[in-house]
C-alpha cells in the first residue's frame, strides 16, 4: 500500500512555505531574529514531513436498508482502520428534513491502536421512506499535515414506520364474523366466556359438565360458553390532501400525520386482539389496498404500507372503490380530514351497504378553528367557508347515526366502539 491517498493540508503547506521562507530571508539579510521566527514553523514542517502516513486507511461503515419507528434513535458507526499513530478521524453525517443528527456538525475522534470509531446518533422524526445523505469521513495524521478523504460510504435507506402508541380499550369491535379471535360472538359455541348452565345434550363434551348443578338437580348439566370469534376491520385512509405543516413527532402535526399514526395505533390494537385488519388508501398512486389478515406480520405489512403513503399523488378515484371487498358486518374506520366532499360520499355509500363506519376526523384542531393554511384574506375566507360546510356535513353524518370522532389520541375510539357494538345487535334495512 502507498501513501498516495494522503494529501498535504493547508497547515503543512503553510509551515513549509513560511518556515523555509523566513529562514532563507534571515540568512540572506543576515537577521537572526527571522531565524528565531522561522524555528517553530520549520520544526512543525519537518515533523509533518516525517510523519507522512504510508498506509491507506480502510473505512467500514454500514449501509443498506433499515426500518425504525419515528422518534426512535439509531446509531451510525464508522470504523477506520490504519490510522497513523496520534492521528484523528473526522466524520459528518448530513442532516435532512425530519432527521435529527447528533452531533449535528460532525465529530473528531482520536485513533486507538490504529483504529478510530465514530458514532453519530440519528433520529427520524416523521414516518416515510427516505434515503439519507452520504456521510463524509476523513483521516488526519498526528500533525494534521496530511489528510485522507474516504470514498463516500453508501447512504442508509430508512423506512420510518409510524409510531404506535398502545390503545388500552376494552370495548369489543362490532360484528365478529370469523372463527378465531378474542371477540365474544352473539351465538353460543366453543369459547372461554361463560354464557349459562344448561341441561346436557348429546354431543356435549364431558369436561363441560357442571357437577354442582348436576348433583343438586339430579340431571346432567353443562356449562355453555359464547363462541370466540374475530372481527373484520378495514382502515380507510384519506390521503387526497395533507392539510397543515408537519414538524415531526414532537412538532406540529399535519392531517396525514394524524391519520397515519392513528391508523398504526388502531391496526395494532385490533391485530393484538386477533382480528383481521385490512387497509385501503385513497389519493396515493403507489399504495391503494392491503388485503385483510391477522397476526404480527400483518401489522408489519400495514406499517410498511403506511410509511409509503404519499398524499395527493392520485386524484379522481371512484367513490365506489371504498366498497370493494367489504361486506356487511365489516367495521370500516375512515381516517380523513373531511376536506374533500368525496369522503362524505364514501361514508354514505358504505353505510347504505350495511357496513359499520366510524369516521375519524384527522384535521388538526388548530386548523379547524383557525384561519387555515392560506396567507391571503381570500384564502382565509375560503377556508372559513369550507370549515362551515364541513361542520354541516359532520352534523349530517352524526344525525344519520354515523359516529364522527375527532382524533385526540388512542382513547378516542373506545366510546364509539361500545356504541357500535350495542347498535349492531339491532336489525336494520340495507341496500345491496
Amino acid at each position: 500500500m502507498s501513501g498516495v491517498a494522503w494529501h498535504p493540508t493547508h497547515a503543512h503547506l503553510r509551515a513549509v512555505t513560511l518556515g523555509f521562507g523566513l529562514l532563507l530571508v534571515g540568512i540572506v539579510l543576515g537577521r537572526i531574529d527571522l531565524v528565531v521566527l522561522a524555528t517553530p514553523l520549520l520544526l512543525v514542517a519537518l515533523a509533518g514531513a516525517g510523519s507522512r502516513p504510508r498506509v491507506v486507511p480502510v473505512l467500514r461503515a454500514p449501509g443498506g436498508s433499515l426500518a425504525v419507528h419515528e422518534g426512535e434513535d439509531l446509531l451510525w458507526t464508522a470504523t477506520v482502520e490504519g490510522v497513523p499513530p496520534g492521528g484523528t478521524v473526522a466524520a459528518l453525517h448530513p442532516g435532512q428534513r425530519w432527521l435529527e443528527v447528533q452531533p449535528e456538525d460532525g465529530l473528531l475522534v482520536p485513533e486507538d491502536d490504529g483504529v478510530a470509531t465514530t458514532e453519530i446518533g440519528l433520529r427520524p422524526v416523521r414516518w416515510g421512506r427516505r434515503t439519507l445523505g452520504a456521510p463524509a469521513v476523513a483521516g488526519y495524521d498526528a500533525w494534521s499535515a496530511w489528510r485522507w478523504v474516504a470514498d463516500r460510504p453508501a447512504p442508509l435507506r430508512l423506512t420510518v414506520l409510524p409510531s404506535k402508541e398502545q390503545v388500552d380499550t376494552t370495548a369489543p369491535a362490532p360484528h365478529p364474523h370469523g372463527l378465531v379471535g378474542q371477540e365474544r360472538a352473539g351465538r353460543p359455541g366453543e369459547g372461554t366466556e361463560f354464557a349459562k348452565v344448561r341441561p346436557f345434550e348429546p354431543g356435549d363434551r364431558l369436561r363441560r359438565i357442571h357437577w354442582a348443578t348436576s348433583a343438586r338437580t339430579g340431571t346432567l348439566h353443562v356449562t355453555a360458553t359464547h363462541a370466540d370469534e374475530d372481527a373484520h376491520v378495514v382502515l380507510l385512509v384519506d390521503a387526497v390532501n395533507d392539510v397543515g405543516a408537519s414538524g415531526g413527532i414532537l412538532g406540529d402535526r399535519s392531517s396525514m400525520d394524524l391519520a397515519v399514526r392513528a391508523a398504526a395505533v388502531l391496526a395494532e390494537h385490533f391485530l393484538r386482539r386477533g382480528d383481521r385488519v385490512g387497509l385501503r388508501v385513497f389519493g396515493d398512486w403507489r399504495v391503494s389496498f392491503l388485503p385483510s389478515s391477522s397476526g404480527r406480520h400483518q401489522l408489519r405489512r400495514l406499517l410498511d404500507t403506511l410509511a409509503l403513503v404519499e398524499p395527493g399523488t392520485a386524484r379522481g378515484e371512484d367513490a365506489l372503490a371504498a366498497r370493494q371487498g367489504l361486506g356487511a358486518g365489516t367495521l370500516a374506520l375512515l381516517l380523513s380530514p373531511l376536506i374533500e366532499p368525496a369522503s362524505t360520499q364514501q361514508v354514505a355509500m358504505l353505510t347504505s351497504a350495511g357496513i359499520d363506519v366510524v369516521v375519524v376526523d384527522t384535521l388538526p384542531p388548530e386548523l379547524a378553528g383557525g384561519d387555515g393554511p392560506g396567507s391571503t384574506p381570500e384564502d382565509r375566507l375560503a377556508w372559513r367557508l369550507r370549515m362551515l360546510q364541513r361542520r354541516v356535513e359532520r352534523d349530517r353524518m352524526a344525525s344519520l347515526g354515523i359516529p364522527v370522532i375527532t382524533w385526540a389520541g388512542p382513547h378516542s375510539i373506545d366510546r364509539v366502539l361500545r356504541d357500535l357494538a350495542r347498535r349492531s345487535s339491532t336489525p336494520r334495512m340495507v341496500r345491496r
Partner: protein, 177 residues
C-alpha cells in the same frame, strides 16, 4: 440557545453565528496570538505605521472563520513581512513573543481546519495537540534565548541554522524506531 451555546439567526431563521465555549476558545487561540504580534511589533517599533495592525487583525479574523484555506498563510505572511520592514533592529523580548505567537496561531488554525467546522472534538485530541506543540514551543524559546545571548557577538544566522538542523537531526535519530 441550548446549554452554554447561543445561536444567532436572521429574520428568516438562517444561521448567522454560534457562540459557544468551543467557538470562543477557537477565536481566542487564533485571533489572540495575532493581537500579541501587533503588541510586540508596536513595542519593538513604536514609530511604525498603525494600519498594518488593522490588516493583520482583520486577516486573523478571516483565518478564524476559514482555517482550512490560504487565509492563515496570508495572515502569517503579512505579519512576518511587517516585522521584517518595521523592526530592523529587534530586541530579544518581542522576537520570542512573535515566534511563540506564530506557533500558537499556526497550531490553532491547523487544529480548527481538521474536520468540519463547528465539529465536536474529543478532549484526547486537544490533549494530543498540546502535548505535541509544547516541545516545539520549548525548542523555539531555547533558540530565541540562544539568539538573545548571541546578540552583540558576531554570530551569523547560518551558524544558528546549522545548529538548529543538527538539533533536529539528533532528535530524529534518537526518536526513530
Amino acid at each position: 440557545m441550548s446549554g452554554l451555546e447561543l445561536t444567532l439567526r436572521d429574520r428568516r431563521g438562517r444561521w448567522v453565528a454560534t457562540l459557544s465555549p468551543a467557538a470562543v476558545g477557537r477565536w481566542l487561540t487564533i485571533v489572540g496570538p495575532m493581537l500579541a504580534v501587533v503588541a510586540a511589533v508596536a513595542t519593538a517599533a513604536p514609530d511604525g505605521p498603525w494600519w498594518p495592525a488593522v490588516v493583520v487583525a482583520l486577516l486573523a479574523l478571516g483565518s478564524a472563520e476559514l482555517p482550512d484555506s490560504p487565509a492563515p498563510l496570508l495572515t502569517l505572511g503579512v505579519a512576518a513581512s511587517w516585522w521584517v520592514v518595521v523592526a530592523p533592529d529587534p530586541s530579544g523580548g518581542p522576537v520570542l513573543v512573535v515566534a511563540v505567537a506564530f506557533l500558537v496561531f499556526h497550531t490553532a488554525t491547523g487544529y480548527a481546519a481538521v474536520g468540519p467546522p463547528r465539529r465536536t472534538a474529543d478532549r484526547r485530541v486537544v490533549r494530543g495537540v498540546v502535548a505535541r506543540t509544547t516541545p516545539i514551543g520549548a525548542a523555539t524559546l531555547a533558540v530565541g534565548v540562544l539568539a538573545i545571548a548571541a546578540e552583540g557577538a558576531d554570530v551569523v544566522p547560518g551558524a544558528v541554522v546549522v545548529a538548529l538542523l543538527a538539533l533536529a537531526a539528533l532528535a530524529r535519530l534518537t526518536t526513530r524506531q
